[in-house]
């Protein structure tokens, strides 16, 4: 199965470890990975700041880049950016050429945990991590992409890992892309509450599916001199893997590329 890696600008610029972990996990489950080098960014930094005109070229470039390899799927390590790719057909709706292209692109795009659980049917990725951890549920992945299950299912099967619930899991960490830079006075109060909530769980590891949020929360931990280990879900699932532990959802098995039924994430509950 051919999978295009949607690397995201944050991973390209900052987090090689996240990209690497994602590729290794995907290849372990039989994916042929491709990294189109023309790709850059989903356009959120400029678009969300109101620079809509300037964002059009960013979007078109991303669509072309991700479609430049004829792959079955496009998979990315950031819930927020993946959601933006899903929104591109809407933002490009007035473009006679790119509206349809963007739709083709969006239809085969998945966030990493979503792809593993919903498309590949993986329950247990075979990983082991001996730690107490908590999970930050990022806003766009939860509310806009509607994915609130996959990461928890996958984390629930990691050997040795104890997950503790994060208080106020529904609240934004204060990242918000350019918001974190433009409104530091407000963002600081938000991320401080998040850091305090994480500390209150006594977890030693903080996990998420959005590198942007991790960069924000982790960066604040470091500034405050508080201890934490930051891990993207892909890094957790790539830790001490033993393939004999791998389990699939019922009725699926290794190499079952074709998706019989990708459960619609959005139908799983009220959007809170």
């Amino acid at each position: 199965m051919k999978v295009v890696i949607f690397s995201t600008c944050v991973v390209d610029l900052m987090f090689p470890n996240v990209g690497k972990a994602m590729v290794e996990v995907l290849e372990r489950f039989g994916c042929d990975t491709y990294l189109p080098k023309e790709q850059i960014c989903c356009a959120q930094p400029t678009f969300n700041s109101g620079y809509v005109k300037e964002s059009m070229q960013v979007m078109r470039n991303e669509v072309d880049a991700l479609l430049s390899v004829d792959a079955d799927y496009i998979v990315g390590p950031a819930g927020s950016c993946v959601n933006m790719l899903k929104e591109l057909p809407f933002h490009l709706r007035a473009d006679p050429v790119y509206a349809a292209k963007a739709q083709t692109m969006a239809d085969k795009t998945y966030e990493f945990s979503q792809f593993l659980y919903r498309v590949l049917g993986v329950l247990d990725a075979g990983a082991e991590l001996d730690a107490v951890a908590t999970y930050h549920r990022s806003c766009h992945m939860t509310r806009l992409l509607g994915e609130r299950t996959s990461p928890f299912v996958l984390l629930g099967h990691v050997k040795g890992l104890t997950m503790v619930p994060l208080p106020h899991i529904e609240n934004c960490c204060g990242f918000g892309g350019m918001f974190s830079m433009k409104e530091p006075e407000i963002s600081k109060q938000m991320v401080d509450e998040k850091v305090n909530d994480v500390l209150s769980t006594k977890a030693s590891v903080l996990i998420s599916c959005d590198p942007g949020c991790l960069m924000n929360i982790g960066g604040r931990f470091n500034r405050r001199g508080e201890k934490i280990t930051i891990m993207h879900l892909a890094e957790v699932l790539n830790h001490n893997v033993d393939m004999s532990r791998v389990k699939y959802v019922e009725g699926r098995s290794a190499g079952d590329g074709a998706v019989s039924s990708v459960r619609a994430a959005k139908e799983e509950g009220a959007l809170v």
Partner: protein, 501 residues
């Protein structure tokens, strides 16, 4: 957009503070009590609201229905307004269409003068704050205005302090503050037990109700096909304000209509669950001018229908904001409201709904241009809104108008953003940037033991950045980007080579 109506500016009384945005944010941060009160209320409401919605079942379908009803009304607004006002007049009531706040307030003042009103009782209504009604009425010699909603009553007694929430206007006050106000202004002698204070104010208010000669209420929904006004409260004060005085004035935003009682029932159900997490509120009232056979109700019934900048939204991307039913659940889930509170927004409409609505009513960005940026786009508001207003998308629309259409950013930040647009739009530029060893940052990066592990690819991080990026390093450390040979793309290329070998 422009809110000039017949040479007069609409929506002049939205602002609750003259202080600049950042000053208000700082002030809110210092008011630890108010911050904790908001956080506590949000957490408690979260549980109550979600339980009430779950109990109803199929909440997402209810939202679709709520959205359809409100969208339909807004699309056919002129027709429904006509039908409603015809029906009010058929029952012997009077309808006045006010284009601006002043027009509305002056009209009501005129009624008070004509009726020689001495004691005006009011129930809670955001729209009367919007038209600056209380101060206007108090310019009439010998006329006394009393807010009868408990929270509004507290604010009035505290020298007309400003509300900070659409449903819980005195959320920022603690019980001791309330006791002190009561003691100073009303001679209250008791303790600060909320029940005791509520009982005391009930006594004070009852007396005023009985002597009231004019009642003023807002309106939750106006039913077009019957000409009735629907009010939703938990204290019953609105009912008294409507039943006792001979003269009755209702003030409503022009969008507040529903076609029939059937839709009113649906909306009431969603409103109560969204606003206070109840099945229904304690009092749910429908009223209209008294007709022939009826034994109660006011003799004179006036409905003031207010535009005040609302029509700025019609036919624009902002039209959905007119669907709003003022349930305030977007405030109750908003992480920004959680920290800066109602006063931080500086508008009588705070929270996500206020950030979208205030600039629309104002007709520009001079007063409220900061608000659409005071949003992390977390979309909690969009997800909770019972009538599915895409609030976070409308924030981006405001930003788009300010940046693309009006170029309002300061020059440096503007350039940075435009360069970012270029850099992320042209892959050769981006790859050049990736290719540079980020030695540029080395002089400002620090090598220090890091307490956040696995966040930083190198053993260095950055504590200071220029331009708009400085906002990041004001609050948190930034990983020093990996050197070219160690970034993800280099790793991937190497990895593929190894696979092929």
């Amino acid at each position: 957009m422009s809110s000039m109506v017949n040479g007069k500016k609409a929506a002049q009384y939205l602002r609750t503070s003259k202080a600049p945005f950042l000053t208000r944010v700082k002030e809110s941060e210092q008011d630890k009590f108010a911050q904790q009160a908001v956080a506590k209320a949000q957490d408690a409401q979260w549980v109550k609201r979600e339980a009430a919605r779950q109990e109803l079942g199929n909440w997402e379908q209810w939202r679709d229905l709520g959205e359809q009803i409100r969208q339909h009304v807004i699309r056919y607004l002129p027709d429904y307004l006509e039908e409603f006002s015809d029906n009010v007049e058929k029952r012997g009531g009077h309808v006045f269409f006010a284009q601006t706040d002043d027009e509305a307030a002056q009209y009501i003042k005129q009624i008070a003068i004509e009726k020689k009103a001495k004691h005006v009782v009011k129930s809670k209504s955001m729209v009367t704050s919007e038209i600056n009604l209380d101060p206007t009425l108090m310019t009439v010699p010998g006329l006394e205005v009393l807010e009868t909603d408990l929270a509004e009553f507290i604010l009035e007694e505290d020298d007309w302090d400003q509300p900070t929430h659409l449903v819980f206007p005195a959320l920022h006050k603690n019980r001791e503050q309330v006791r002190q106000v009561f003691e100073k202004k009303l001679g209250y002698k008791g303790d600060n037990d909320p029940q005791h204070m509520a009982r005391f104010s009930r006594k004070v208010l009852r007396k005023h109700f009985l002597e009231a000669d004019m009642g003023i209420t807002g309106c939750n929904f106006a039913v077009a096909d019957t000409g009735m006004i629907n009010l939703v409260t938990n204290e019953g004060n609105a009912d008294l304000a409507m039943c006792i005085p001979k003269t009755q004035v209702v003030v409503m935003g022009m969008e507040r209509l529903v076609p029939t009682m059937k839709e009113a029932e649906t909306m009431d159900n969603m409103l109560a669950r969204s606003a206070v997490g109840q099945k229904l509120t304690s009092y749910l009232t429908y009223t209209a001018p008294r007709t022939g056979q009826e034994s109660d109700g006011p003799d004179d019934f006036y409905v003031v229908i207010l535009d005040n900048g609302r029509s700025n939204a019609l036919g624009t991307v902002f039209e959905p904001i007119l669907q709003c039913i003022r349930c305030a659940s977007c405030l109750n889930v908003c992480p920004i409201y959680r920290h800066i509170g109602g006063h931080g927004y500086g508008s009588i409409y705070p929270g996500p709904v206020g950030s979208v609505l205030s600039p629309v009513l104002d007709g520009g960005y001079d007063d409220f241009g900061d608000l659409p940026y005071a949003c992390s786009l977390c979309a909690a508001c969009t997800a909770t809104c019972p009538v599915k207003i895409p609030l976070h998308q409308l924030m981006i629309e405001h930003r788009r108008i300010m940046m693309d259409d009006q170029s309002q950013a300061n020059l440096i930040d503007d350039t940075v953003m435009r360069v970012m647009g270029l850099g992320t739009g042209h892959s050769s530029l981006f790859r050049t940037a990736l290719g540079v060893d980020h030695t540029m940052l080395t002089p400002i990066s620090k090598k220090q033991p890091e307490t956040a592990k696995n966040l930083f690819a190198s053993d260095r991080h950055v504590e200071w950045m220029p331009f708009v990026f400085g906002g990041w390093t004001k609050v948190r450390d930034l990983p020093d980007p990996p050197k070219h040979g160690q970034n993800f793309r280099s790793w991937f290329a190497h990895h593929k080579k190894e696979q092929q070998a």
